[in-house]
């Protein structure tokens, strides 16, 4: 495991481990296995059973947060600094000597099924999972991170033991703000090359359908429009972040002004453009009442069309860059957020101080470059809608006229 140290707040100590390969490594008939494995790792190790392990953490008021993402598993230990040295050895134990008992596996499997079921209470989750299906087709990003019901039911204890053997071989990164362990100072590592212009899913997307719908009893219609773009360590990603900022950062953003301030159509409209190892989605989402749905979709399509045909003005571009640069300060404020961000950048083979150094590179980004990127990535968007059947059908007609 590559282990690093970064000096931060002294009252709270943290260590975050990132294990490469998350839910995107789930095999086709084992969707959900890495989610289960992630939970299972935290349910006892070495001489500690599940309750003893949990009791040990609680007795020092510590937190252990864990989650399986598309690209990796994150496990984060957090406590007051005075207790940290007693707890820190647990992190290594839970990766090297987890108990992985069958009864705990059964528990985790049930928990996964329950989570999956509960997530369906929010129609946005359904619309988003549908969206991923059409833009990623068979790629692992097309599947729900929580897994799929039938797959989860099929997973056996020995499947988990096999997956654990694979997990042990995966690359791992650890970053802590506690100085006691003599880990390499993150500030002293040689900056890595951030930019790799590799479209790892292949540059040609074979999209079969660009429209998907889900009928719900909601009084609102959810609309998600977007497409695949590039990996986070691509040279294009920073310019797309500028575009994200222009569209959605703060109350001066385009989406806020168009949908909320000028037309009173939506309460919340935003962009989702996450950091991903492979091609990240770039999407605009919003929800709107039925009576305003068609006007909203028409406006959204007009914005999308402008993105593909018009350059952002110089003033807007400057503001978007400024907002993006200050967003690094606003978004990563707690030790936990900072450590998570930096370990994630390490796992992407990127400079962990990418954010701090962004200002100079931002200056070089032009409106022309952004326009070229929108043409490159956003030319063939897909749409996912959720709401009442008759409104979905009407929206489909509008969509079909355009795409």
């Amino acid at each position: 495991m590559k282990s690093y140290y970064l000096k931060l707040n002294h009252k709270i100590s943290l260590a975050n481990i990132w294990i490469e390969g998350g839910t995107s490594l789930d095999k086709k008939d084992e969707k959900g296995i890495n989610q289960i494995l992630c939970k299972l790792l935290t349910r006892g190790c070495s001489k500690y059973d599940n309750y003893e392990f949990s009791d040990f953490l609680d007795s020092y008021g510590a937190e252990l947060n864990f989650e399986a993402f598309e690209d990796g598993i994150s496990i984060c230990l957090k406590s007051l600094s005075e207790y940290f040295d007693k707890l820190f050895p647990l992190l290594n134990l839970l990766i090297e000597e987890p108990n992985l008992y069958e009864k705990e596996f059964i528990y985790c499997k049930k928990e996964s099924l329950d989570y999956l079921r509960k997530s369906k209470e929010n129609p946005f989750n359904i619309a988003f999972n549908n969206f991923k299906k059409i833009i990623y087709i068979d790629h692992p990003y097309s599947f729900n991170c929580l897994g799929e019901e039938e797959s989860i039911k099929r997973i056996k204890h020995y499947d988990i033991l096999k997956e654990y053997k694979l997990l042990k071989k995966r690359k791992k990164y650890l970053l802590t703000n506690n100085a006691k362990y003599n880990f390499l100072n993150l500030k002293k590592i040689k900056p890595l090359n951030h930019f790799k212009d590799v479209n790892k899913l292949g540059s040609k997307l074979l999209i079969k359908n660009n429209y998907i719908e889900h009928y719900s009893n909601s009084k609102q219609i959810i609309i998600i429009i977007g497409s695949q773009t590039c990996p986070y360590n691509s040279k294009d990603s920073l310019a797309l972040k500028v575009l994200e900022s222009y569209l959605s950062y703060g109350m001066s953003s385009l989406l806020f002004k168009v949908f909320r301030e000028n037309n009173g159509l939506t309460y919340d409209a935003g962009v989702f453009y996450p950091s991903r190892k492979f091609n990240a989605p770039f999407l605009i989402y919003l929800s709107v009442s039925e009576k305003n749905a068609s006007l909203t979709l028409n406006l959204l399509l007009s914005i999308w069309n402008d993105l593909l045909s018009k350059k952002i003005s110089e003033d807007e571009l400057s503001l978007a860059k400024l907002k993006l640069n200050s967003s690094f300060l606003h978004h990563f404020r707690t030790c936990e957020d900072i450590i998570f961000r930096k370990v994630r950048l390490l796992s992407l083979d990127m400079d962990p101080f990418y954010d701090e150094k962004a200002k100079d590179r931002l200056e070089a980004i032009s409106s022309k470059e952004i326009l070229a990127l929108t043409k490159k990535y956003l030319n063939y968007p897909c749409i996912s809608v959720s709401g009442s059947k008759h409104v979905c059908k009407y929206l489909k007609k509008i969509w079909d006229r355009k795409y």
Partner: protein, 412 residues
């Protein structure tokens, strides 16, 4: 608890201020608080406090609509606001070099708003969209139904956003009147946290705040002696995957911080971690709940202690009985001393974890100052010592053996 260096000060306008020095913070948080939450709305004006919060951002005597956001964001800042049951606050996070300008923009926006009919009608539509969107958040939807049912004739029965029909009835003049009545110095405070500039007192002394002469004193508003219902209530909900159960007990208001902390410690014993009493029994061993949580719903005019579970409909009665049974047994638990010790560490750690950033600090100190609680960190340390005593905590636990109100959300 050593949280930060804190200094209290009164602006010439009589507005109370608190300054919290946090040297490591890259941003300064300015948090402007008012006793102007939904508890202060008139009965027929539900949603007014939140509507006003939206409209405040529509410009002021010096700022055109949208200008505040643009200028704050161009200064590298971020702003937002939040309306609660008792109070409302407007905040800006800003790099230290721009604090003076941000303060001037924020105070002008909040204290001297100018509303126009067009903006008012557009924002009405936005709020109705927000109400509709919140109905898709099932946890929030069910919780609002629970609050509506648990209190008798209390402002906390209302939803913060209001209902569509309430919003349609609100008039522009209602916003003016509410603002004039409640957004006054005696009713407000400013909290500032972060790496403060050397001349911060001068900066704050020079900022324009409203005069307090001849204005209504909202302390005249008094909501007392309100109680909660007892017994059970069932509601049916479409489109939920799991049923929900809420068990509620009335506990002292936020004014009584000592008891609030005591209940936080009890809550930790009940549901923090896999070994906690309810989690271990109901989720880990019997596996008859999807999730179980407990906590305080604090308010300046009354608080609730709540145990909440998400579960299959057929297990509702069983889970309710087990919870009651385990609460009975807690008082005679032979391991109670250890459980308290562990809970004290968890709760203390949580306080420190949640007071790390300048915005968390300005929110904590601002809210306490607004309601007259000075140096809450000193009080907190004293209270932690008090609750180390098992006997003290046992007395508090007994209150959970009294009759409660149970709300059931059935999956249709």
């Amino acid at each position: 608890m050593d949280l930060a260096n804190v200094k209290y000060w009164e602006h010439p306008s009589k507005t109370n201020c608190v300054f919290v020095e946090e040297y490591d913070s890259p941003l300064i948080s300015i948090d402007f608080w008012f006793k102007a939450g939904i508890s202060f709305e008139e009965k027929e004006k539900v949603g007014l406090a939140h509507f006003l919060e939206h409209m405040i951002f529509k410009g002021s005597k010096l700022l055109k609509s949208g200008e505040f956001d643009l200028r704050i964001e161009a200064l590298g800042g971020f702003s937002n606001a939040s309306t609660g049951y008792d109070d409302v606050h407007y905040y800006v996070d800003i790099p230290p070099s721009n604090v003076e300008e941000a303060l001037s923009l924020l105070t002008n926006l909040v204290l001297f708003p100018e509303f126009n009919e067009r903006e008012f009608n557009l924002e009405k539509k936005v709020i109705i969209e927000e109400i509709l969107q919140s109905q898709d958040q099932k946890d929030e939807l069910i919780f609002n139904y629970f609050l509506k049912s648990v209190w008798i004739d209390h402002p906390y029965t209302k939803s913060i956003l209001g209902e569509e029909e309430n919003i349609n009835e609100i008039e522009l003049n209602d916003l003016h009147n509410f603002h004039k009545k409640y957004y006054i110095p005696i009713n407000s405070c400013l909290a500032i946290a972060g790496k403060l500039p050397k001349n911060y007192l001068e900066i704050f002394n020079n900022c324009e705040l409203r005069d307090s002469k001849n204005l209504f004193d909202s302390r005249q508003i008094c909501i007392v002696n309100k109680t909660i219902r007892k017994g059970r209530k069932i509601e049916f909900f479409k489109d939920i995957e799991f049923s929900r159960i809420f068990m509620a007990w009335q506990i002292p208001s936020s004014k009584d911080q000592k008891n609030i902390l005591g209940y936080e410690i009890i809550s930790s014993i009940l549901t923090d971690g896999r070994n906690s009493i309810l989690n271990r029994s109901l989720k880990e061993e019997k596996q008859i709940v999807e999730s179980i949580h407990s906590g305080i719903h604090p308010g300046e005019f009354g608080s609730l202690f709540i145990i909440e579970a998400s579960l299959e409909r057929e297990n509702l009665r069983k889970v309710e009985d087990i919870i009651s049974n385990l609460l009975q047994k807690l008082l005679t638990d032979s391991d109670l001393n250890n459980k308290i010790k562990k809970a004290l560490r968890i709760v203390k750690s949580n306080y420190i974890f949640n007071l790390e950033t300048s915005s968390q600090l300005s929110q904590f100190y601002g809210n306490h100052l607004l309601w007259g609680r000075i140096n809450p960190q000193i009080e907190l340390s004293k209270n932690f010592k008090y609750w180390k005593s098992t006997e003290n905590l046992k007395k508090l636990m007994k209150s959970l053996l009294q009759d409660n109100f149970t709300f059931i959300a059935y999956r249709k």
